[in-house]
Symmetry: C2
Subunit: 152 residues, 2 copies
């Protein structure tokens, strides 16, 4: 097999003793890049939902179902890359509170996961009003975490 794809990101992810959620062996700058990638994509998929919630985009339940499902996957992805090894990285807005208030950070993660779960249920049921209110709850969860754990 050709090895050309074994780029920095992949090689970095292939350390010794990969555990289900531990990525401590991945280079800290790569972890930062990975978690920022998740935020970028959460933005991509919450965006149209926010547009529909605000009425600037016509409601489309197919978009709601697809985007909610993608958000379900994405909202599981960033947390293991907020490892303590990334504390000293410069290209990040992550605040030290992530590690000094780990319980609070976990609570916000759970709040997002719960809100995304409700969004998925609403989208699958095809209830436009519920999708819109659930979108608002997802945004609240995003903001709650950013308020405490991300630099302005």
């Amino acid at each position: 097999m050709r090895k050309k794809l074994l780029s920095a990101g992949i090689v970095a992810a292939v350390g010794a003793g990969v555990a289900l959620t531990a990525v401590a062996q991945v280079r800290p700058d790569v972890q930062v890049k990975q978690r920022q990638a998740v935020m970028t994509l959460q933005g991509k998929y919450i965006g149209p939902l926010v547009g529909m919630m605000k009425g600037s985009v016509p409601y489309n339940n197919d978009v709601a179902v697809r985007n909610a499902a993608f958000l379900d996957a994405l909202s599981q992805m960033p947390w293991d890359t907020f490892s303590e090894a990334t504390k000293g990285e410069s290209n990040t807005k992550a605040l030290p509170a992530i590690w000094t208030n780990a319980a609070g950070f976990k609570k916000d993660q759970d709040q997002l996961r719960s809100a995304v779960g409700a969004l998925n249920a609403a989208a699958k049921s095809g209830n436009e009003a519920n999708v819109k209110s659930a979108t608002g709850e997802v945004l609240k969860a995003c903001n709650s975490c950013h308020d405490e754990f991300r630099a302005k």
Copy 2:
């Protein structure tokens, strides 16, 4: 609701007339950032599978199941952001062949989706040998597309 989360990425994604796959109204540089984010995360989740395939990481079927599921979501995400509007962007290795050979590009997308589907099936069945060979097929699909459509 607070509007602080309406960052550039989200605002850009909330254009008029969002269709299920059309993101032409999203700023071209944002589209590039979004598709590169997908590649970063595909690297994150194929990485441990490659390590297990090569034997540098102990086989863990829970990791295989989780990573395969994330790759199933991720491998659907980049394509709509390879819009023609991004042709003129500088911070990208995307080659013009993406648009002059759209059928070939689509064929490679389908190859990846098929390989990721097989990887998911193998992981769910818990068959280590099949997971390893399916991982090889996913890498082949990555390389096939990068060979033709990504600058060295």
